[in-house]
Amino acid sequence: MSDTPMIDELEKGPWPSFVREIRRAGEQSATARDLINILELSYKDKKTHWKHGGVVGVRGYGAGVIGRYVDMPEQFPGVAHFHTVRVNQTSGFVYSTKGLGEIMDIWDKRGSGMTNLHGSTGDMVLLGTNSDELDPIFTDISQKGWDLGGSGSDLRTPSCCIGPARCEYATIDTLAITRELTNYYQDELHRPAFPYKFKIKVAGCPNDCVASVARADLSIIGTWKDDIKIDQAEVDNYVAGGGIDIMKEVVMLCPTQCIDFDGKKMEIDNSNCVRCMHCINKMTKALSVGDEKGATILLGAKAPIVEGAMLASVIVPFMELEEPFDNLKELIEAFWEVWDEDGKNKERIGEFMERMGKGEFVEEVGRILEENDSEVKLVSDVDMVFHPRENPYIFYDEYLEEVSDE
């Protein structure tokens, strides 16, 4: 009988299997082989055999390495140390084969050869190495032009969709923004000084292919201010082609019912359009995003860790973003300042904002922007409302006072 009957189950069936992949790595790596063995034991014991390693890292950096040890090093020497190394991803996940090859050569030599790219955190995640290899790995990857990513209570490596490199929907240069923020905030990335992690994801349009609205503390999502462009000749072609039931698949599915279509001519009441992208996605040739391009800035999304999951909510409905993105940087730094001042250990900015109250958070950020002579103004706006209030019987003193002053 096999030594690993439970793990073997996970190789069965036609699906991708992480066990199969780890076994393949095990042809060359003792670490990968012991990883399978310890996992089998964990399944049997119904408990983890991993221990945190809170001190490991490379000299000078407080991030980029996540330490792990096994609690039975004698039995599983291959995974006695099993530290993870995070390496900055490229903007839009565009790699050259040569660049990837160099990373993999380093990792085959100094690590387990196992990787994971790209999960929610981002970064190229290199899984499983010894403490002694960390500084040499850092030197090797640095020489090839790479750097370590974020971990712990710091800025995580920003990430973005492929944006204008390939996609006509992009209203902002997601790649340039991501690259600039990554380079500009090196200190925040490598030297943890926040209450908790902070993730930035940049999507070129509301399709949000990086799911920033669910996965980033700060979501930057491309949008436009003016009207959706309609190419009536192409609308005619869609009608003539008959491949799509425009009424049923486009008009009726517009969330705000702001498209007017009489079977021939299409018009959009743009004042009621919420830029959901549905019609544009359906009728790519006929409809396109407007010319006044920018981004919506949202805060607060997170997965359930300390508290439950949260989606992002709007902080700035529209902002133009041009290199070198000074307005964006000023805004981000003001967010950090407010959060840094009063955020509790392991309190994400979304939870912090909820505890403080969004109105007060916005006021405080606005005050800091003003103090720093920023061009960016932050004022409460109806677009920031995440959710209409459910209970009309709660009153806010400050607003009552404003009324009675009149």
């Binding site: 390693g53 809170g54 407080g62 090093p73 712990g152 000084a193 926040f194 840094d340």
Partner: protein, 89 residues
């Protein structure tokens, strides 16, 4: 700015050293304490970061991670010791 960053670094080190083994500080806690202490001199958080860097680069303090990021005196943790001993056998 009138303050010597080495002096600030020294104060930071003392602050961490004093509570070693009893309590841990986040870098932000240390920065806030220094900004308060050197209020009259106008010490900023940026200065504090530079001072922290002196301590980290000289390895007098290290960043650690346990349920959040901290700054502590360097030391070898239990799990690493166990792994080392196992390797010797």
């Amino acid at each position: 700015m009138a303050v010597d960053l080495n002096q600030v670094a020294e104060d930071m080190f003392k602050m961490v050293e004093e509570v070693h083994g009893v309590k841990k500080y986040k870098p932000g806690d240390v920065f806030k304490a220094m900004v308060k202490k050197y209020k009259d001199e106008g010490l900023t958080k940026k200065d504090c970061k530079a001072a922290m860097r002196i301590l980290i680069d000289s390895e007098r303090l290290v960043y650690t991670y346990f349920n959040g990021s901290w700054v502590e005196l360097p030391g070898v943790e239990g799990a690493a010791k166990a792994a080392e001993e196992a390797a010797k056998k």
